[in-house]
């Protein structure tokens, strides 16, 4: 105890370490700016903003022909113009509707198949092999078949999304159910839990994190499928904007379409993250 005290005093006698110039500057700056200012966000935005500025500059001084790549200002102008008539909202909603419909159909199929093959060995033997075989085929390559089967209008678009969505969700749900610790089944037996309790309190919550990962992967594929589907025969939707741009050699329309796809994709991704936050409160500690 005494020993510790003397050491402590010895430390103190060294006195404060002199500040170097950089530290002093930091001190002065921090007097004017609140400590909680989100500097990280500012630093992260610098590179993207610089890239956009460079893009604008390159088209303005003629490094890049605006006919090859429209400047950001023109993309923005097109956006404002199309927004003022409300046209853009109709296209966005059309695309969103197609994705949601495809997700609902594909998601329902995936959940039913995943639960069936996750919960029973027989289900796995019946469902898994054919599904793995179909999965080996590129889902986007089924477009010509879907055109014949479901029609070139809404059918092929929604169908492509639905098919693309099934596999990631199915695989992750199935894996999630099978990955649950066997010792929990023992525990359920010892506690006298009913089959229903085993399902609702052990299996489903245990498989949920994996299923949500599957949903996120599915979302990515859903938008990709939609881009291909709307590219086949665009009647309304964001793909229509892109096709218009292609036909009129207007790159600003194409870029606007791509940006809209990206924003919608990000928004839905954020929605699933929110869902994860709400549904998996017990794992928040690890998600951070």
């Amino acid at each position: 105890m005494v020993f510790a005290q003397t050491e402590f005093q010895h430390d103190k006698s060294d006195g404060p370490v002199p500040l170097d110039a950089k530290d002093r500057l930091t001190q002065i700056v921090s007097r004017f700016i609140p400590r909680t200012f989100p500097w990280s966000i500012v630093r992260r935005s610098v590179t993207p903003l610089l890239l956009i500025a460079l893009w604008q500059y390159a088209t303005a001084v003629g490094w890049v022909d605006p006919a090859v790549l429209a400047p950001p200002s023109q993309v923005w102008a097109t956006f404002v113009e199309l927004s003022s008539t409300g046209e853009i909202l109709v296209h966005v909603l059309t695309s969103l509707q197609r994705v949601l419909l495809g997700l609902a159909i594909g998601g329902t199929v995936a959940v039913m198949l995943g639960v069936a093959s996750g919960l029973s060995k027989l289900g796995e033997e019946a469902i898994d092999p054919p599904l793995q075989m179909i999965r080996a085929m590129p889902s986007l390559g089924t477009a010509p078949l879907l055109v014949i089967w479901l029609g070139i209008d809404e059918g092929v678009k929604v169908g492509l999304v639905a098919i693309g969505v099934v596999f990631p969700l199915y695989i992750n749900l199935y894996k999630g159910i099978r990955g649950i610790d066997r010792r929990f089944a023992e525990l359920a037996q010892m506690c006298g839990a009913s089959r229903r309790e085993l399902l609702t309190r052990v299996i489903l919550p245990g498989a949920l994190p994996s299923a949500l990962v599957g949903l996120r992967l599915s979302l990515g594929i859903a938008w990709l499928s939609l881009v291909i589907g709307e590219g086949i025969n665009a009647q309304g939707g964001i793909g229509y904007l892109v096709a218009q741009g292609r036909n009129a050699l207007q790159t600003d329309w194409i870029i606007l379409g791509l940006v809209l796809y990206a924003i919608l994709g990000l928004l839905m991704e954020a929605l699933v993250r929110l869902l994860e936050w709400r549904l998996l409160p017990w794992s928040r500690g690890f998600l951070k």
Binding site: R183, M190, C191, A193, W282
Partner: protein, 247 residues
């Protein structure tokens, strides 16, 4: 009539809380238990001691009904609950929901009973916590509460204190003894800690290579003095059987 009743009562009091008769258990080629015989009086604490891999956990699993014996007979008098070495809490259920897991009652009653047993193990305040936020000792208390809520006649403990730090382990020993005094259940404690066994148990079963090497009772009052020469002699005896030099 009276005689008949007292006979019945006598017979009941003689029914062992826990017994194994010529129990063999094989997993494929490997024989884990070969002819285990033991009998534990109701309300007693028996410690089953042995090296890892000696079959003591297998024996406990047979008592729990999680495995069946290859031959021989295992009997348990009344309801069984078990606490495992890993607290085995469902991470997605709150502490109280873990405790009430499997309890077939209305939600309000489940919660009430869960809170009551959590209070009993000294965790009343943490009823609404997530398992991931608990310490090792707290997790084991929840596991104990979950075992208690079913009012077991026999409590099986599979090295429940093995992973705890020394101080927490002593606290858990005291908790276990208090609960045992209050509820009077039979306890079968599997452990590789000889001192723990000698401190807590009424009788000790030493298991080695699938057989009972030794079985003795300890009459000494609790709390027991580890410095007592009798304690030291028993310790040497058990360690000798297990082939470990006593320090």
């Amino acid at each position: 009539m009276n005689v008949a009743v007292s006979h019945a009562a006598l017979a009941q009091s003689l029914t062992p809380g826990l017994s194994a008769t010529d129990v063999r258990k094989t997993f494929g080629e490997r024989t884990v238990l070969e002819g285990v015989n033991l009998s534990v009086q109701r309300g007693e604490i028996v410690a089953i001691v042995g090296e890892s891999g000696c079959g003591k956990s297998t024996l406990l699993r047979l008592f729990a009904g999680l495995d069946t014996a290859t031959s021989g007979k295992v009997s348990v008098d009344g309801k069984v609950s078990i606490a495992f070495q890993d607290s085995r809490l469902l991470p997605w259920l709150k502490v109280w929901e873990n405790v009430a897991f499997g309890l077939r009652l209305l939600q309000a009653e489940r919660k009430k009973q869960a809170l009551a047993v959590l209070e009993e193990v000294g965790l009343g305040k943490l009823w609404d916590a997530w398992p991931a936020t608990l310490s090792g000792g707290e997790g084991q208390r929840v596991a104990l509460a979950r075992a208690l809520i079913h009012h077991p006649a026999v409590l099986l403990l599979d090295e429940p204190f093995g992973a705890l730090d020394a101080l927490t382990r002593i606290r858990m020993h005291a908790l276990m003894l208090n609960l045992w005094r209050k509820h009077g259940f039979t306890v079968a404690l599997v452990t590789h800690d000889v001192d723990e066994a000698l401190t807590l148990a009424d009788s000790v079963v030493v298991l080695g290579e699938g057989k009972v090497l030794d079985q003795f009772t300890i009459e000494a009052q609790r709390p027991r003095n580890r410095l007592d020469p009798g304690f030291g002699r028993l310790r040497e005896r058990v360690l000798g059987l297990l082939g470990v030099p006593a320090l």
